[in-house]
C-alpha cells in the first residue's frame, strides 16, 4: 500500500511531455473545436467551458479533484492480471497486457484508494478506460471487492466511478463471474447500511452496467454519457433501423428512471458530499 500525494503539479505530469510538442500546450474540444490552454482545461476538470463537453478521464484525474487536496492512499497498487485461460486470439492476452501496461503506465483497468471527500472518509474505486477499454477482468473485480471490504471494515461510504466497455473477453467466464462477485460484495455494504454511490461516466455498458454500476443507493451520471447494456451498434442491428436521437445518453437513462440525477463534473464532489451528509445525518461543520 503506497502513500500518494497528488499535488497540482503531480496531476499535470503529462505536461512535461506536452512541452516537447508545441501543440500539446493547447487543447481542442472534440465537440465544438474551441481551443483552450491545457492548464485552463485541467482547471475546468477536463470539461469544455464553451460547450460543456466532458472529456473522458481516468482514475488519476478523478482522484485529483474528488479526494480532498488530491490526497489518497491507494489500495492494492501492485495487483496485476494473469492469463488464467492461456487466451490467444490474433494476439496473446499476455502480450496485450504487457503492451497496454507499457503504453498506459497503468497496472489494470481500475484504481482504488481511500481518503476524505469534503472531510468525510470515503473509499473510491475508478475505472481506467484507456486500459483495454476499461474492461472488467479478475483484477477489476478483485480490486472492487477489496475496496468494498475496506469500506466495510472502516464503515465508510463506497464510491464507484464506472467507465467501461464491459467484460474482458480474454478472461471469458472469469470475467463474467466478476459481475456476481461485485454484486455479492455489494450485498454486504447494503446489509451494514453503508452508503454506495455509483457514478456512471462515458461509456458504461455491458456487464458493468448489468452489475455494480446500476446498484448504487444512488446512481448518478455525468452529462451526455453513453449508458446501456447492449452497445448501440448491437441494438441497431437488432431492430434493423436507426436509433432515435439521444438514445442511451445519461439524459435518456434518467428519463427512463434508472438514474437519480445527472451531475456536471465541476459539481460532482459537492453533490456526492452533500448526499453522504444527508443519508448519514451529518450536517456540515
Amino acid at each position: 500500500m503506497g502513500w500518494f500525494k497528488r499535488t497540482k503539479e503531480g496531476i499535470t505530469t503529462p505536461t512535461e511531455e506536452k512541452k516537447d510538442s508545441p501543440d500539446g500546450l493547447w487543447h481542442m474540444c472534440p465537440k465544438c473545436r474551441v481551443v483552450v490552454n491545457t492548464d485552463d482545461h485541467e482547471a475546468a476538470l477536463w470539461t469544455c467551458t464553451n460547450c460543456g463537453h466532458h472529456d473522458g478521464i481516468d482514475a488519476e484525474e478523478y482522484f485529483s479533484f474528488l479526494f480532498d487536496n488530491g490526497e489518497f492512499t491507494e489500495l492494492d497498487p501492485n495487483m496485476t492480471a494473469v492469463d488464467p485461460l492461456g487466451f490467444e486470439d490474433t494476439k496473446k492476452y499476455t502480450d496485450r497486457l504487457e503492451a497496454t501496461r507499457k503504453k498506459t503506465g497503468l497496472k489494470d483497468a481500475l484504481t482504488s484508494g481511500y481518503g476524505t471527500l469534503n472531510g468525510l472518509p470515503v473509499t473510491i474505486a475508478c475505472m481506467n478506460f484507456k486500459f483495454i477499454g476499461g474492461s472488467m477482468g479478475s483484477v477489476v473485480g478483485e480490486k472492487i471487492a477489496r475496496a468494498i471490504d475496506h469500506s466495510l471494515k472502516n464503515k465508510q461510504p463506497f464510491i464507484m466511478i464506472s467507465k467501461s466497455g464491459g467484460a474482458r473477453m480474454m478472461e471469458a467466464a472469469f470475467s463474467l463471474m466478476q459481475m456476481a462477485k461485485t454484486a455479492a460484495k455489494l450485498t454486504l455494504l447494503d446489509k451494514h447500511r453503508i452508503p454506495y454511490v455509483s457514478v456512471l461516466t462515458d461509456p458504461t455498458t455491458g456487464g458493468v452496467t448489468a452489475s455494480y454500476a446500476m446498484l448504487g443507493d444512488v446512481n448518478i451520471a455525468e452529462p451526455n454519457a453513453l449508458i446501456g447494456f447492449a452497445g448501440p451498434r448491437v441494438v441497431k442491428e437488432t431492430i434493423g433501423k436507426d436509433l432515435p436521437d439521444g438514445f442511451q445518453t445519461s439524459e435518456f437513462v434518467l428519463e427512463h428512471g434508472f438514474l437519480d440525477f445527472i451531475v456536471e463534473r465541476k459539481n460532482m464532489k459537492n453533490k456526492i458530499g452533500d448526499y453522504l451528509r444527508l443519508v448519514g445525518n451529518q450536517p456540515a461543520e
Binding site: 488464467p84 486470439d89 483484477v139
Partner: protein
C-alpha cells in the same frame, strides 16, 4: 430426428438399424443377432464420439434442433404438476422467461428458466429465449415468493443472451440483470442453477447465482458466444471454432476452473437422443442436491454463497 454435420456417422448407423429392424419385421429370418451387433457398434461409436467432442461440437449439441427446452423439462420432471405463473407486475408477461411451482419427489419447488420456441411461430413468441427486463423482473418476483414461503428455487438456464432491443434498453436491461444478481446472492432459501443448453453472459447470470451451479455435459457457459467473440476479437465470423476453444466454455473447463459446482451427465450422444432419460436423471439430481441443502442454516448458506462467488477470479500481486 435431425442430425448435425458431425453426427453423420450416427445417422448412418441409425438408418441401418432402422432398415434391419424393418426387414426383420417383414421376413421370417431371425435378425436379432445382427440387430444386437448393430446396436453394440452404435453404442461404441456414440461413446467414442462423446469422448472426443470439441468445444465447438458441444456448443452445437447445446443448440441441437431436437434438444428439449425448459418447459419440456419442467413438465416431465414434475410429472405434470408444473403450474406456471405469469407477469412481472410492472409491464407485461415475458414469454422468453417462464416460472412457476411444481413437485419433485414430494417437495415443492419454484422453477424458473428461459424458454426457447419449438417451431418458427413459437420461436418468435419466445423471442429465441432472449428475455427482456420484465422477464428478469418476473423471475425476481417469483424468487422472492419462494423466499417468503421458504421453498427452494431451481433455475434452468438456456439463453443466447438477454435481448439487446430498444425497449429492453428503455426499461433497464442492465438494471434488471444487476438487481437479480444482487438479490440472488442474498436470497434466503436454497438456489440450484442448471445450465441445460446455452449459458450466454449476463442473460444467463441473471438467473444464475446459486448455492449449486451445475452444467449438463454438452452445454456452454461464458461471457460471450463463440460467434460474437470471433467477430469482435478476430474481426471475422470464421473463427468460431477457435473462439469456442479459447473461451474454455465447456462444462469440463468450467468445473476445472472452479466456476461451477458440478456436471450432470447426459444420455449417450446427447440429451436429444433420450430426453426422457435426461428428465428422470435431472429430477433425481435436483432431489439429491436439495436434500443436501434443505437443513442448512440460512445465514450460513447465504454467507457461503457470497464467499463462493467472491473467490472467483485469478490475480497476481
Amino acid at each position: 430426428m435431425e442430425y448435425l454435420a458431425f453426427e453423420a456417422p450416427i445417422r448412418e448407423m441409425d438408418e441401418q438399424l432402422e432398415r434391419t429392424r424393418a426387414m426383420a419385421q417383414e421376413s421370417d429370418v431371425d435378425l436379432s443377432a445382427a440387430i444386437a451387433a448393430l446396436e453394440q457398434s452404435r453404442t461404441d461409436l456414440l461413446k467414442s464420439m462423446s469422448e472426443h467432442l470439441t468445444a465447438w461440437q458441444r456448443v452445437q449439441l447445446s443448440r441441437h434442433p431436437n434438444r428439449p427446452y425448459t418447459l419440456a423439462y419442467l413438465n416431465a420432471m414434475t410429472q405434470g404438476t408444473f403450474s406456471e405463473l405469469h407477469g412481472d407486475r410492472h409491464v407485461k408477461d415475458d414469454k422468453a422467461m417462464v416460472g412457476g411451482w411444481g413437485w419433485i419427489n414430494g417437495e415443492s419447488y419454484l422453477f424458473l428458466g428461459q424458454q426457447k420456441g419449438i417451431n418458427t411461430k413459437m420461436r418468435q413468441l419466445r423471442n429465441f429465449g432472449m428475455a427482456n427486463p420484465e422477464g428478469y423482473r418476473k423471475a425476481l418476483r417469483l424468487m422472492k415468493m419462494a423466499e417468503k414461503f421458504q421453498r427452494p428455487v431451481v433455475c434452468l438456464i438456456d439463453t443466447p443472451g438477454a435481448f439487446p432491443g430498444l425497449e429492453a434498453e428503455e426499461r433497464g436491461q442492465g438494471e434488471a440483470i444487476a438487481r437479480n444478481i444482487f438479490e440472488m446472492a442474498k436470497l434466503r432459501t436454497p438456489v440450484i442453477c442448471i445450465i441445460i443448453g446455452e449459458g450466454a453472459s449476463g442473460g444467463a447470470l441473471g438467473i444464475g447465482v446459486g448455492d449449486r451451479v451445475l452444467m449438463l455435459e454438452n452445454t456452454w457457459y461464458s461471457v460471450i458466444s463463440p460467434e460474437s467473440c470471433s467477430s469482435i476479437l478476430w474481426r471475422s465470423w470464421d473463427f468460431k471454432e477457435q473462439a469456442a476453444e479459447a473461451l474454455k466454455l465447456t462444462a469440463n473447463d468450467m468445473l476445472a476452473n472452479g466456476l461451477i459446482d458440478g456436471i450432470v451427465p447426459e444420455p449417450l450422444g446427447g440429451v436429444h437422443r433420450n430426453p426422457e432419460g435426461m428428465f428422470a436423471s435431472l429430477a433425481e439430481t435436483i432431489d439429491r442436491e436439495y436434500r443436501a441443502l434443505k437443513d442448512r442454516d440460512l445465514d450460513q448458506l447465504v454467507d457461503e454463497r457470497i464467499e463462493k462467488f467472491c473467490a472467483m477470479g485469478v490475480v497476481n500481486e
